[in-house]
């Protein structure tokens, strides 16, 4: 593909991603020395998924100028999509095993009923909610992982862009969207187990005999492949005339419109595409996280997504990836109890509490001293001649 020959950053990025994936593999417990624990393999795989979401955020915000503060909603929907299938298939297997001891083999209806009871008794229900209709089919679930976030983005974007809602108003609207979705999912009778969310997602149906050590590295590979493919596709997209046009929309929407382009169609295209990318990222993330609940798509999550891209440097694809990787790994370090607390006599710095302060400080510093983000520093090192 010509994108590799034309675009040096794509070659470098893919090279680094391949090396990183190989490095993690040879240090993994399943296929290597075991220097990287299963749980840390999962953290790294999840980080790659967050990088993918940040890449989407960079496309929609950094390149098209739409500051969406709701893209994590699409991420969550992807997670719920795969979660329903995982939970259904896994619970059904357990139920079958339990019923197998009886004298008369259970009917399919009995299995289905028992599975539903098992899943939904926690919210006081015993029947399958309508939104689980496709949950017994992996294929349909995969279709929905793309279709549901895509459709929500399409409808929301169509309404917003058609009315020419822009700037901070659009940001507020997207926050409202993700908040509304989160509150809706919190309700017990929505059908997605309310605040319990979906759990046990790390158990892959049909792979009971395979340990988490191997499953974790498989998901890590899948996440790396998804990020790599999305990166190449995004680089190809923005190198086309389409890329010139959406950057034009970001910088001067009016000019683009008076050149005869329907700005709304372009925004809708980018918004929907990135919504789908976030959905895919979420579907890869939550089997590694093991649990999803409505808190995941609280408004703050989407704001973090924007913060990562801002720190990494918007308007450059590797910037988004760097930002998401650095900030989310630091976040894991500081909030995961790994960072040693600092005793200052009577006062004690506990990093779990101080991490948001540190993040805020980092955000301010980057804004002040590296307005192009951490990705901009890469430019500075790589091509000093162009300043």
């Amino acid at each position: 593909m010509s994108i590799f020959t034309q675009n040096r950053s794509v070659r470098i990025f893919i090279g680094i991603l391949v090396l990183f994936t190989l490095g993690v593999t040879v240090m993994s417990e399943a296929y290597g020395t075991g220097a990287i624990s299963v749980s840390f393999t999962k953290v790294l795989g999840m980080t790659l998924c967050l990088c993918l979401a940040a890449l989407a955020m960079d496309l929609v915000w950094g390149y098209c100028g739409i500051l969406s503060l709701g893209h994590f909603a699409f991420f969550g929907l992807g997670g719920y999509g795969i979660g329903m299938w995982l939970m259904t298939a896994r619970t059904e297997a357990v139920v079958r095993a339990n019923l197998a001891g009886g004298v008369i083999p259970p009917t399919e209806a009995e299995v289905s009923q028992a599975t539903a009871l098992q899943i939904f008794s926690v919210v006081g229900a015993e029947d399958w909610p309508w939104m689980w209709a496709a949950s017994d089919s992996l294929f349909l679930s995969l279709v929905l992982i793309v279709a549901v976030p895509g459709l929500l983005a399409l409808v929301f974007g169509w309404l917003a862009f058609r009315s020419r809602v822009t700037g901070v108003y659009l940001s507020i609207l997207t926050q409202a969207m993700t908040l509304a979705l989160s509150l809706y999912l919190f309700q017990n009778d929505t059908g997605l187990r309310g605040n319990n969310g979906l759990s046990g997602l790390q158990n892959i149906p049909g792979a009971e005999a395979i340990g988490q050590d191997r499953i974790s590295i498989w998901f890590f590979w899948a996440s790396a492949v998804a990020l790599g493919l999305a990166y190449v596709a995004a680089a190809w997209l923005i190198s086309s005339k389409f890329g010139n046009i959406i950057r034009g929309i970001r910088d001067d929407e009016q000019r683009v419109r008076f050149l005869g382009y329907r700005v709304e169609s372009y925004k809708l295209f980018v918004f929907t595409l990135t919504g789908i990318l976030c959905g895919i990222a979420g579907a890869l993330y939550y089997p590694q996280a093991g649990i999803i609940n409505p808190d995941e798509i609280a408004p703050i999550a989407s704001i973090y997504l924007a913060v990562w891209v801002a720190i990494g440097g918007r308007g450059r694809l590797y910037g988004a990836v760097i930002g998401a990787a650095v900030v989310s790994l630091l976040s894991t370090y500081f909030t995961g109890g790994r960072a040693p607390d600092i005793a200052l006599g009577a006062f004690r710095i506990e990093w779990v509490d101080w991490w948001p302060v540190l993040l805020g400080l980092g955000f301010v510093l980057v804004t002040l001293f590296a307005p192009k983000g951490l990705g901009g520093l890469v430019d500075y090192v790589v091509r000093k001649d162009r300043a």
Binding site: S240, F258, L259
Partner: protein, 246 residues
């Protein structure tokens, strides 16, 4: 000469303020027309109405031989129909090269999918360098538009209009902030364009209008006050009043 754009009895009110008051205007092709008037005369609002940015309360705006109404069309549709607009402040995509600016403007299918699959053909390349030559930016094709001089940006924007291949060009204050030499270039460029296009130039600068040497429409309080040659309108007592103050 049949009429290309025909504006009939148009009025528009913003919060009780009558920005355009029963305005009628007509231009054929090829023709150069200067629209002058003091601040608040409605010059920019007039352009907004023609390009679809503002919807008038009453009146009609008709386009082309078939007299299609522009009022039901979106900005993008109007632009595609053949009306190009240059803004007062030079608006080019500063982040992108001169070449990319022209490439985006080039008359080609405007949909997202077409833009993704678009390949710059030899014809496109030839057209881009032709336009770049026309606007004096042939040596700056790969220059980032943001670092062009003010005058060069104005030209680039005119070049982007040309790339659209419009029939009518609406040009808002093309000479603002230009050096004398740049003004001469701009005058020559606009005159050349007016040989094959309809060109409406909104201008404050009387000296520049005099150089354009064309028919002049004077707007005042949202209506046409006078129309004719510059000498003719400047001989009109009302025009003098408006410009020199009462």
């Amino acid at each position: 000469m049949s009429s290309l754009l025909e504006v009939q009895g148009v009025s528009v009110t913003f919060d009780g303020f009558r920005a355009i008051n029963n305005l009628s205007f007509q231009i054929g092709m090829p023709e150069m027309r200067a629209v002058i008037g003091p601040n608040g005369a409605g010059k920019t609002t007039f352009m907004d109405i023609v390009t679809g940015k503002t919807r008038p309360d009453t009146g009609s705006v008709r386009w082309g031989d078939l007299g299609h109404s522009l009022l039901s069309m979106s900005e993008a549709q109007i632009a595609q129909a053949g009306i190009g607009r240059k803004f007062q402040r030079p608006t080019v995509f500063e982040d992108q090269s001169v070449q990319d600016n022209l490439r985006v403007a080039l008359k080609k299918p405007r949909g997202p999918i077409a833009a993704i699959l678009d390949r710059t053909t030899d014809t496109d390349r030839a057209r881009i360098s032709e336009i770049a030559g026309e606007i004096g930016l042939a040596d700056h094709l790969s220059t980032r538009a943001g670092i062009l001089s003010h005058g060069q940006k104005q030209w680039l924007e005119i070049g982007m209009l040309l790339a659209q291949d419009p029939k009518l060009l609406l040009v808002d204050e093309p000479a603002a902030g230009m050096t004398t030499e740049e003004r001469e270039h701009t005058t020559a460029l606009l005159k050349r364009l007016a040989e094959t296009h309809a060109v409406v130039v909104v201008e404050h600068d009387m000296e520049f209008v005099r150089r354009l040497d064309c028919r002049v429409t004077v707007l005042h309080e949202g209506a046409v006050l006078a129309e004719g040659s510059l000498e003719h309108v400047m001989a009109d007592g009302r025009v003098v009043d408006v410009y020199l103050g009462r």
